[in-house]
Each structure stands twice: as C-alpha cells, then as structure tokens.
C-alpha cells in the first residue's frame, strides 16, 4: 500500500493498544466487580491517588527511554529520597526537608547520568548497579526502621491535602503530566531527546549535544523518583526502605504499554499516564476480586508480557 496508508494503520494500532486495553479492562472490572464497589467514586479516586507516584516516575522514564537510555534505579531512589526527607523533617522546617528529599533524587540521577554520558557506560548496567547500591544505602540509612513524618504541612502538600476540593496527589499528577507532555512534545529539549534515541549519530552531526541529553534524562529520572518518594511519604505519613521497591516493573510496563519504545526515538507522556492508570486499575481490580498476592503477580506478569510483545512487534516493522 502507499506510505501514508501504512502510516495510518500503524498510528491506529499504536493508539488503540493503550486506549482499547484501558477500556477493555475498565469495562471488565466495571461489570464483574460492580457489586464489590469498583465503580464508586471513592474507589476510582483511590486508584488515581495510589497511582500518583508511579505516574510521576513514568514521566522521567519516558524521557530516558526516548533518549535510548534506561533507568532501573528509580525504585531505590524513591526510598532514599523519602527517607532523606523524613529524617531531615524531624529537625528542620518543611522547605529544607523537601529540598533534601528532591536533592537526593537529583544527585543520584546526576550520578547515573555522569557515568552514562561522560564515562560512556551503558545505562542498563550503571543503573542496575546503582539500583542495588542505593537499595542497600536505603536499608542502612535508618537500620531498616520506618521514620514517621509528622509535619502536617508536608503530609498535606504531598499526601492527604487538597486544593479547591481536588486531592493534592491528583493535582501533582495533573501538573506533572502537563509539564512533562509540553516539554516532551513542544520544546527543543524534547525534540533533542527523541532525536538522540532515534539516531544518536544523526543527532550528533546535527549539532545536538548528545552526552548532555543523556545526562539530562537520567538526572530527570532521579528528580521524578525523588518527587515520587515525597508523594509516598506524604501519603503514608512515614518513610521506609521498602517504598518504591515494587515499582520498577510496574512503571516500565506502564510506559511501554503507553506507546514508548524500549529502544528509543518514540514515546508518549499521555500514554504513560494511561499505562499507569491501567496498572493501578489492574492492582485494584485484582485485589477486589480477592486474588492471592501470588495470583496477582502472575496475572500482572502475563499482561506485561503481552504489552511488551505488542510493543516490540511494532518497532521491528
């Protein structure tokens, strides 16, 4: 067929995967779990609230994957940031705690970024190593103890509070998605990120500072993971080394289901948001269905497998 026809077909497939998947699972739960309260406003809001940290992390990851890099360490960064903020908040005011928590995330991201961009190490291996490194540091920071967060302003802003009746976690999600989307689609930085992942040599000969882009996306991943850590500790009013531990697979899967290519050059922030909501819905629904934790893991794993298969089949065309 003509080039434009195949383009249309592909765009349809690309879009429909996430939208149709989202819709199908929503309808499935809406029907089967109607009596269990899946469709109540309270439950649906709950899904969004629980998904907020994952969505924020997903935004960083869309940038990293689009640039042809990956970050496996963001789960550990969440714990380090949350614990840093919690510990600092015990003796310092709000702003210091927030800056310390975010700063920890940015610093770890920048550390990954320097190793990848300027020491030319593969991000997969660097962040695989720092994932373990910072998981260990999170454990030793407070001797595995949970640190309570008693600063009401903090827990309000990053957790249970609201503005004009909109829960703060929903606001964080909306603001992060809008900023992420605009930067990704409508700025030179976003264009350079995508070009770098698409064809690094072309990007480089076109005058794009490829190492700087790589450094920036990994630092951004650290920053979004840091913010996610604040959101977790705000909502739970405590920080623990286990925060973010199980998010790695969920967030990567959500981002891929949302139409971001694993091998760079293509991505979607809105898709990542839908992917995260899909994962949240899945968690919620499977729990309401009364599945054992082990069965939940199996079902989630299978769905991620399908998502990856669809994603890779499309990019190899």
């Amino acid at each position: 067929m003509t080039a434009s026809a195949s383009l249309l077909q592909r765009m349809d497939l690309q879009r429909s995967v996430i939208y149709l998947g989202f819709l199908a699972i929503f309808l499935f739960f809406a029907v089967t779990l109607h009596d269990d309260g899946f469709l109540t406003t309270r439950n649906l809001t709950n899904i969004v609230l629980q998904t907020a940290p994952a969505t924020v992390m997903a935004i960083g990851l869309v940038f990293a994957l689009s640039a042809g890099e990956i970050d496996l360490s963001f789960g550990s960064v969440v714990a380090v940031s949350a614990l840093t903020a919690a510990v600092v908040l015990q003796s310092y005011p709000l702003a210091v705690g927030v800056l310390a928590g975010l700063g920890a995330g940015i610093a770890i991201g920048a550390f990954n970024g320097i190793l990848v961009a300027y020491f030319r190490l593969p991000s997969f291996l660097v962040t695989l190593a720092t994932m373990g490194l910072f998981a260990g540091i999170a454990r030793s920071m407070t001797d595995l103890r949970s640190i309570p967060v008693l600063n009401d302003t903090f827990t309000g802003i990053f957790g249970s509070g609201d503005l004009f009746g909109i829960p703060s976690l929903v606001l964080w999600t909306i603001v992060a998605v809008i900023i992420g989307h605009v930067v990704y689609r409508n700025t030179r930085f976003g264009a350079h990120v995508v070009a770098t992942g698409d064809n690094p040599r072309a990007a480089q000969v076109s005058g794009i500072k490829v190492p700087r882009v790589r450094f920036a996306v990994l630092t951004l991943c650290g920053a979004t993971a840091g913010l996610a850590g604040l959101l977790y500790s705000g909502r739970l009013q405590a920080a623990k080394y286990t925060l973010g531990e199980t998010d790695l697979m969920t967030v990567i899967a959500a981002v891929i289901v949302g139409g971001t290519a694993l091998n760079g050059g293509k991505g979607s922030i809105i898709g990542a948001l839908l992917g995260c909501l899909l994962m949240g819905m899945l968690n919620n629904g499977l729990i309401l269905m009364g599945l054992e934790v082990s069965d939940q893991m199996i079902v989630r794993g299978l769905i991620i497998l399908i998502a990856v298969a669809v994603s890779l089949r499309d990019t190899s065309r």
Partner: protein, 246 residues
Amino acid sequence: MSEIQPVLALTNIHKAFGGVVAIEDFSLDLHPGEIVALVGDNGAGKSTLIKIISGVYKPTSGEICLSGETSQFADASEAREKGIEVVYQDLALADHQPVYMNLFLGRELTKPPFGLLDKARMRRETQELVDELDVRIPSASSTIRDLSGGQRQGIAIARATHWASKLVLLDEPTAALGVAETAKVEELVLSLKKKNLAILIISHSLDQVFRLSDRICVLRRGKQIGVRKTADTDKNEIVSMITGVA
C-alpha cells in the same frame, strides 16, 4: 578561474593519524556554482578529506580558506555555522521523526513567549522547500521510515541546501539507489549548482561523475594524483589515474 574568489581553498593539506599518513599535500580550489568530483579507490582518503573540510578532523598541517578567510574549525558545528553542509552516506536522518523535524534537526524553530517549538512554521517551510526542489513526498509531516530510499536522500539533500550558504559535501549520494531515484538525485545536485553553491561530491560511479561534474580530482592512497576538467578528459584517463596502471 582566478578572477572569482574561490569558496573554498585547500592548500597543502596534510593529515596523519599517528604515523599513518591519510592525506599528503592536497590542494584544491572550489568555486561557486561548480561541481567537483572526488574519486579514488577505497581507502584513498576521500572520506578523510570530507571530514577535514567539515571540521570533524583537523589537518596536521596546511591551510583551509573559506571565502578568502583562513579558517580553523573547532568542530563540525562551527563548519556548519560558516555555511558548509554535509550529506552523509548514511543520511543522518532520525527515522521515527517527521520530515520537518529532520529538516530542522538541531536547529528547531521556536516562537515567543515560551520558546516552544514552532511546528506550523517548520512544516510550512519544509513544504515550500520540498516543493521548490521537487522532492516528492506525501507531506512534510510524513515519517522518514515511510519514505523510499530516493525520498530520504532527497530530504537529506534538501536539508543541506536549506542550511548551506557556501558549500555542500556529498558522500556517495546515490550508492544505495535505483536508476530512477539516482536520476532524480542527480537533478537535485544540479539544482544546487544553479543556486551558486560549490559542491564536492564523492562517487564511485564514473558515469555519474562525468554526467555531473565540472572537474574531477583523483586521490590514490592519500596522494593527490591530479585534477582534470571533465570536458578535457575521458574515463580511461581517470581510471588509470585511480588505479595507477597506465
């Protein structure tokens, strides 16, 4: 020729990588509206020379003059700013991006007040350019990987034309193309000449060299064997210059 100032004047260019001499004593003038073909066997130093002119490599010794000014490019971006564009053999296109983003790759247009991308203007200028050059693509928003080899080559050349103010370097622009697509690209190259750009083209096809060029410069193992006016020479002479067999 001496009455017009050359766009590019290379004088006694010498390039060695460690102890290995890649280019020895190369001199060439390029004039506006002139197509010079660079020919030679594999490893003769053609690509090295292109990289020296485009600022990727610095010559070990010798002088590069751009419009009469002695130039030392710190890197490829600086050469680009001075009006030198390269069409690479692999085209250097980002395959998943639309045509207009490739045309403005690294030089994206933005609009006030927030400095966001001006996609409408990039799309419009791209459309104007491909129309002017008669590169037939479905639209400026088409994705590169949906285009044929000839269309992609057309985009790469259109990009060079759009940004070059002085000189376009073409590294085997038709190596991977069919007959009809090759003819189309050759037309494009000739249209650059009409725009008074200087063109240096590397090609392995002597037929093509004789169709397009005004002068032919032969390299063999880093040595400049000679420069001939295309009108005053024939294939036999060029082949023997390339191979060194009389």
